[in-house]
């Protein structure tokens, strides 16, 4: 017992050590350090984050132009370069102050765009899709030879390029390329923002002269479903509308929203006229009826300038609108006749007035016959070519031809729309990566594809949107890496031009669209002599700028100083330098309006003598109308930017993907619960949705949000769930305004 260490001795040692321990810094230091650990970048995983936030970084700013949609916003990118790391990174983005088109503003998508280079769905090599959501890497050469083989094989089918943002330099390259092919198509989606050139050509016979909306001077806007306050138009137009709406007195702009859905614009417009689904054109014709009947328009003048306004023989606009007296329209639209008359009188009184139509990125364009009704209203209001109305804008030169055309222009493919293409005719489809900002339901494209087999190539940098349907994805450089140009936004009344110079060099794996076209042309053995025409974006842009410079008119905005100079005072290198550094050329004013004649019923398209009113009659007891609604950039990578979760997922500001709003009465009648899950069934399929009761939604309507499905952004997944837009009924003219649907609890 006396020798050896007893338990008691151990206890004493432990006791002594315990007291000694408390007198050492060990416990206190560990307490303190562990708290500091929670404050350090190594918390909680015990290792330092790879990227730490350094405040000693050198900050610089670069200016360029946003390419996420055609609206040509000037952006100022804040870049940080950390010594040692050597690389430059975008750490912030704002609008370029004083920019003639965007005036320093950006939309939510633009503000978040610095993250797009690291978008989880960005592809890091050319891939070949081998089934739903599965892909294998493929070398560029292999892909090109495959595509070239597909093109040469499809002798009876056509080769088409789907270009979301027309009139860019690369668009001209595409047009030239398909123009060289035997049966090539160059396709543009319908515009979200401007007046469709086809419509102006039909009604005003102005050819390819494009019209914009002069919202700056308008005092009244009647919008048939245009998301005027929700992503429509350029930032300057948006700001100007906002400003004008707040003005007091005479200058105040009044906004009347004629729309079935309780869209964002309908929510905050001065007046919301909730017409029944599909009856917008009936309301427009009703307005026309009132205007003519009450002599609110210059009928004599219209008779003089239009052949089909009041035509004793054959069809005429008068005859058409006679069928739409207020009582009838009221019955169709559900809007009291008094209201129609009152609104029409106010519109006629508050000139200049503009009638806008369509353009919600989710619900798509109106049918042409409906558009004719709206355009007719614009003509009645005398808004064509006048201040505060629809104004034509100047054209931009092509890199291949001057403004007045040349021999080269013969080789450019004509611009077509999807509805122009015969069903089942496309053998090879090349989709440009640029976003249009609008949804293109895949079915509209799909039904044009050859059933005998087709090859689809996407040049998008991301596996997002319609790129998931492609066979080959050749990732082009991402945002801020791409060399491009931005032509006049389609809503603008004044021509403009910006050059997009890459701020960051594109990664090696990326495929430049012009390079791809060049290689493809080479593989197809087309015009070896003029290879340079396809290649060298720098060269093409320079050529275009050169032609623009030779016009010697307009102003050039210098992004670095925030001031504008006359183009005529600048040398070509100076001009090029200004443009490359985020500058912008802007025309002096709208184009000259040529002498026009009005064709209310359209030039070539025979009008239907009755604009059909959809969405009624066939409503069974449980049949409702499904109205898809989206915001700009819908279904694109910009929209599914992870940080957009702030709007769609982490706040109630915007409804997340596949969420539908229904009136509580409608919902309860269908047995739904607020916040519950439901199944929406249409003739095209079934979508699973979340239901939100909203008492401001019209009864009988399923108002559905079209947003990229947010789940599993990291990998391409087999499409398990249909998005709402996938189950919409696509008409033969590639529109999808109205879909009958059933909803039931899931």
């Amino acid at each position: 017992m006396a020798n050896g260490i007893s338990r008691r001795d151990w206890m004493k040692l432990v006791g002594g050590s315990a007291i000694g321990f408390m007198l050492t810094p060990i416990p206190w230091k560990i307490l303190d350090e562990s708290a500091k650990w929670t404050q350090s970048p190594s918390f909680p995983y015990g290792r330092q984050r790879e990227i730490q936030i350094h405040s000693n970084e050198r900050i610089s700013f670069s200016h360029t132009t946003c390419t996420l949609c055609p609206m040509a916003c000037g952006v100022r990118v804040r870049c940080a370069s950390e010594r040692g790391r050597g690389s430059l990174e975008a750490v912030g983005i704002t609008g370029t102050k004083g920019h003639p088109i965007s005036d320093g503003s950006l939309c939510a998508l633009g503000v978040a765009a610095i993250f797009l280079r690291y978008h989880p769905s960005r592809l890091h090599r050319p891939v070949k899709i081998i089934g739903h959501g599965k892909f294998v890497p493929v070398s560029l050469d292999e892909a090109i030879s495959d595509i070239a083989r597909a093109i040469s094989r499809s002798s009876c089918e056509s080769v088409a390029v789907l270009d979301n943002q027309p009139d860019r330099a690369i668009s001209h390259i595409y047009r030239k390329f398909v123009g060289e092919l035997k049966n090539g198509f160059y396709i543009n989606p319908p515009t979200c923002d401007g007046v469709p050139t086809r419509l102006t050509d039909q009604t005003l016979h102005t050819g390819d002269l494009a019209f914009g909306y002069d919202v700056n001077d308008a005092r009244m806007i009647v919008s048939f479903g245009t998301p005027i306050l929700d992503g429509w138009g350029t930032q300057r137009q948006f700001a100007s509308i906002s400003e004008a709406r707040r003005c007091g007195g005479d200058k105040k702009l009044k906004l009347i929203q004629v729309e079935t859905a309780h869209s964002r614009t309908a929510q905050i417009a001065d007046e919301w006229i909730p017409v029944r689904p599909g009856t917008e054109s009936a309301f427009a014709l009703g307005m026309a009826n009132v205007m003519v009947r009450e002599r609110l328009c210059n009928i004599d003048r219209l008779r003089m300038y239009s052949a089909d306004f009041d035509n004793a023989a054959g069809d005429s606009f008068m005859k058409l609108i006679e069928k739409y007296p207020p009582a009838y329209v009221s019955e169709k639209t559900g809007i009291p006749a008094d209201k129609l008359v009152e609104v029409t009188r106010e519109v006629a009184r508050r000139k200049p007035a503009i009638v806008m139509f369509g353009g919600n990125p989710g619900s798509g364009p109106f049918r042409l016959d409906e558009q004719l009704a709206f355009m007719g209203l614009n003509i009645l209001l005398g808004s064509i070519g006048t201040k505060g109305g629809l104004k034509p804008r100047g054209k931009l030169p092509s890199p291949y031809y001057g403004l007045h055309g040349s021999d080269d222009s013969n080789h450019l493919a004509s611009m077509k729309q999807l509805s122009d293409i015969p069903d089942g005719s496309i053998g090879v489809l090349i989709m440009d990566g640029a976003d249009s900002g609008c949804a293109i339901p895949w079915e509209t494209v799909e039904r044009k594809l050859s059933p005998a087999g087709h090859t689809i190539v996407s040049l998008a940098p991301y596996l997002a949107g319609n790129a998931v349907h492609a066979d080959y994805i050749l990732p082009s450089p991402a945002y801020l890496e791409t060399a491009d140009d931005v032509p006049t936004p389609s809503s603008a009344t004044v021509a403009s031009y910006s050059v997009v110079s890459p701020i960051f060099s594109a990664p090696k794996f990326s495929v430049r669209p012009n390079g791809f076209i060049n290689s493809l042309a080479e593989a197809l053995n087309i015009r070896r002599s003029s290879r340079s025409d396809f290649s060298g974006m720098e060269y093409i842009l320079k050529k275009r700028v050169e032609k623009l410079h030779s016009m010697a008119k307009g102003n050039v905005f210098n992004a670095e100083t925030g001031r504008s100079e006359r183009l005529s005072g600048l040398s070509l290198p100076q001009f090029l330098e200004r443009l490359k550094k985020g500058g912008c050329w802007i025309d002096d004013g709208p184009a000259e309006l040529p002498p026009i004649r009005y064709s209310f019923l359209g030039g070539t398209h025979l009008p239907r003598n009755n604009v059909p009113v959809q969405g009624e009659g066939n409503n069974g007891p449980r049949e409702l109308v499904l109205l898809p609604l989206g915001t700009r950039g819908v279904l694109t990578a910009a929209q599914s930017n992870p940080i957009m979760s702030k709007l769609y997922q982490e706040s109630g500001l915007r409804m997340s993907a596949n969420t539908v709003s229904v009136n509580p009465s409608t919902g309860r009648a269908a047995g739904l619960k607020d916040g519950g899950k439901a199944r929406v069934r249409t003739e095209n399929g079934t979508a699973y949705v979340m239901v939100r009761f909203d008492k401001s939604v019209m009864p009988g309507i399923i108002q559905a949000s079209v947003v990229p499905l947010t789940k599993s952004p990291d990998r391409a997944e087999p499409k398990i769930e249909d998005s709402v837009i996938d189950i919409c009924k696509i008409d033969s003219d590639s529109t999808w305004r109205i879909t009958n649907a059933m909803i039931e609890p899931a």
Binding site: L31, S34, A35, W37, T38, P44
Partner: protein, 419 residues
């Protein structure tokens, strides 16, 4: 043949002399479910600490979830420790010595459990000591933190002699001497404990009473404290004895023994009842003042708070009348006459009333909208939250069972065998 009353108790060397305890095997068997709950709870706590509070269903609106509500509840129920100590040592009600040890153990369990859950509940437990290092004395939570921590130390010191008196431990001379000396200073600790309890029970009330942003919880103040400060003290003092009564009854039912004399039950009931009557009275006055003065002065109508389903006006009625006035009258006037069963039932109601009050102050407050474009919200705790709380319950049951088995929680137990 059961020749020895402690036959089969392998741990007889630890069991107090002169009392009967169930066989060790059976004891373990009864503890197994609680040990399982303890293990599940531990896993839940591990998840919360390792992965963060996203494991809970709390959110930015329900920043305080079920844990805070239950913390407030168990601290109120644990008030029996301070109040019994106060009655025994300061007011010399020696009759209550019969439940004093049990009260101390319950207090210890409640407070240590509450602190444990709080440590899981905060986002950065490793920074918990910042509150001591950089205290903001204007915060009720600072007061609560300081007082609860100090009081847990006091309770540990109070619990220590009870442990040291264990048959085996007291054979160590140092332990024997220590328990004796600790026992001698107990009145001082009881006094300190009463002081601390007074403040933290009150501060827990003040916690929500000071929230000017939540008119539903906001109360005008007396001196620097809102009225809820005082209401919480009185309600906790009233609920404490009830809970002691209840736990003693449960312990005696589970062990199938009489542990204390009936007059102790009656005394506890009387104390609880009379305090509760005072509480109900003050609470009613406070509610009326709040409805007619405080809320209108903030531009609202008080009744608006009680229109939101499922927390309609019934909750106010239940809190004050059903679980307040009714049991208080039973306890007060029935303490001498009614059977123990009635007193126990009333105590259950008292405890429910206190828990309901804490629920109203925490959960209902947070669920009500403050801005007109806010929504009314409810929240369902995740399994981790439930499990972590059940951990505390299991921990309490286990500690109490072990204490009951190996320590002399009820000095009257041997005597009760005679009667």
């Amino acid at each position: 043949m059961d020749r020895n009353r402690n036959n089969g108790t392998k741990d007889i060397r630890l069991v107090a002399r002169g009392v009967n305890r169930m066989p060790f095997g059976k004891f373990l068997y009864l503890l197994v479910p609680w040990l399982i709950i303890l293990a599940i709870g531990m896993y839940a706590i591990f998840l919360c600490l390792a992965k963060g509070l996203n494991q809970t269903n709390m959110d930015n609106r329900f920043a305080f979830g079920v844990w805070i509500f239950l913390d407030l509840s168990i601290i109120a129920l644990g008030a029996g420790a301070f109040f019994t100590g106060f009655l025994v040592y300061i007011l010399k009600r020696e009759e209550l010595r019969a439940v004093l040890n049990s009260a101390v153990v319950i207090g210890f369990i409640c407070y240590s459990g509450a602190i444990l859950v709080l440590m899981v509940d905060v986002g950065q437990p490793l920074r918990a000591w910042f509150t001591f290092w950089h205290p903001n004395i204007h915060s009720m939570l600072t007061e609560v933190t300081f007082c609860i921590t100090c009081y847990l130390v006091v309770l540990s010191v109070e619990y220590a002699p009870i442990v040291l008196r264990n048959k085996k431990l007291k054979e160590v001379p140092a332990f024997l001497a220590m328990q004796y000396e600790l026992h001698r200073i107990m009145p001082v600790l009881a006094g300190v404990g009463t002081f601390l309890s007074f403040f933290h029970q009150g501060s827990l009330g003040g916690l929500f009473g000071v929230l000017q942003g939540h008119p539903f919880a906001f109360r005008e103040g007396l001196a620097i404290w809102p009225t809820t400060f005082f209401l919480f003290i009185i309600s906790a003092a009233a609920a404490g004895p009830s809970f002691i009564l209840l736990t003693t009854w449960i312990a005696s039912r589970v062990s199938r023994k009489r542990l204390v004399s009936d007059n102790v039950f009656a005394l506890l009931a009387r104390i609880s009842g009379s305090l509760l009557v005072v509480y109900v009275m003050l609470k009613s006055i406070d509610t009326l003042t709040w409805l007619n003065r405080t809320v209108p002065s903030l531009g609202l109508s008080g009744i608006g708070f009680f229109l939101w389903a499922p927390f309609n006006i019934w909750i106010l009625f239940a809190e004050i009348i059903v679980f307040g006035l009714v049991p208080s009258l039973f306890l007060l006037f029935g303490s001498g006459r009614l059977r123990t069963g009635w007193l126990v039932a009333s105590s259950v109601m008292v405890c429910c009333g206190i828990v309901l009050n804490r629920f109203v102050m925490t959960i209902q407050t947070l669920s009500l909208p403050t801005m007109s474009f806010d929504r009314f919200m409810i929240y369902t705790p995740s399994w981790q939250e439930i499990a972590a709380f059940l951990f505390v319950v299991a921990y309490g049951v286990i500690i109490y069972s072990l204490s009951f088995r190996y320590l002399r929680l009820f000095p009257q137990e041997i005597e009760m065998k005679v009667n």
